[in-house]
């Protein structure tokens, strides 16, 4: 590509930007295809840019954009404020969906703890003592644990936001 990209390209561009194309640059551009392209294109685009300034009859009003941005910021703030509630709602729905399985899982878990106790010759009796005997107890246990976890998570979230 070095054959087609002129080494004096930057000088030509600088001359165009300064608005004063000296004779040397002009005569070079006549001989150099790359620099003549630069002159041609920049001339056209600068003219077009000047024309574009006259075509802007009615731009959107600044106060309209300001108001739009303010409303958007408000919506974003509301969305952020509601995020913990949305998060808890998802957890609650998940817990509700899982609750029917507790009836099945409860005896399986109990059996699992007992078999571990036998296999490792370790007394897991304290686990079995606190292990919920009924579904209601399990729900209570899960509910209170869930509340504590959610309180911790939401406190962390609020602190992080602040």
């Amino acid at each position: 590509m070095s054959r087609v990209i002129c080494e004096r390209e930057d000088q030509t561009v600088a001359a165009i930007r300064s608005g004063a194309i000296d004779d040397e640059t002009a005569s070079h551009a006549q001989r150099c295809p790359a620099c003549s392209d630069i002159l041609l294109v920049s001339e056209f685009l600068r003219e077009d840019g000047a024309l574009a300034d006259h075509e802007q009859t009615a731009l959107p009003d600044a106060s309209h954009i300001w108001e739009k941005a303010r409303l958007r910021a408000q919506q974003e703030a509301v969305r952020l404020a509601l995020r913990p509630i949305r998060f808890m709602k998802i957890i609650a729905i998940a817990a509700f969906a899982c609750s029917p399985w507790l009836r099945l899982l409860l005896p399986i878990g109990r059996e699992f703890v007992a078999s571990w106790s036998r296999a490792f010759d370790f007394n897991f009796a304290f686990v079995l003592r606190v292990w919920p005997a009924s579904t209601n107890e399990a729900v209570m246990l899960l509910g209170s644990s869930g509340t504590i976890i959610l309180l911790a998570l939401s406190s962390w979230y609020i602190l992080r936001q602040e």
Partner: protein
């Protein structure tokens, strides 16, 4: 930024951003939408303290990203030129229209690069920062776009000259 300073900044910067968006998209309603979106994003972004030139540069970056997002979504064909038909206008205006048609035949990326380089006066490094391209790629892409436009302009100008003979 408070409302008064925003208004001032908008009045100073909006015409140039709008011209850029209009020439790259070729559609006034699209350019207006993108202009509003760019300023909304500027206002909602939590920026460190900036001077006006930095803020303007950041605005052009947002506008360029918006153009690219839009192009990715729609993969637009070259749009029609939104200049009024100069049926009885001077020959110079007709030539300018032809040249503008030539500009619209370029790809969106090429129009972006050329406008930033020759109207906004950005150097390769600044264009790279605005467009997310590498510095070396900008040089090459700009060269190709320039050559393509120069050929189109020469072809268009020669046909116009023939027409007026």
């Amino acid at each position: 930024m408070d409302e008064t300073s925003f208004r001032l900044f908008y009045e100073q910067s909006a015409p140039r951003v709008f011209a850029y968006l209009l020439r790259v998209t070729g559609k006034r309603p699209v350019a207006e939408d993108l202009l509003q979106e760019a300023y909304c994003r500027l206002l909602s972004s939590k920026l460190p303290a900036m001077n006006e030139a930095e803020r303007r540069s950041y605005l052009f970056r947002i506008a360029t990203n918006l153009l690219r997002d839009r192009w990715r979504r729609h993969q637009e064909e070259p749009p029609p030129v939104s200049l009024p038909e100069p049926a009885s206008g001077p020959p110079q205006l007709e030539i300018q229209l032809e040249l503008r048609k030539a500009f619209q035949q370029l790809k969106m990326r090429e129009r972006e690069l050329l406008w930033l380089a020759y109207v906004e006066g950005c150097n390769h490094k600044e264009i790279a920062a605005l467009s997310g391209l590498r510095h070396t790629s900008v040089r090459l892409l700009l060269f190709r776009a320039r050559r393509k436009l120069a050929n189109l302009i020469r072809t268009g100008a020669s046909s116009q000259t023939e027409h007026f003979k």
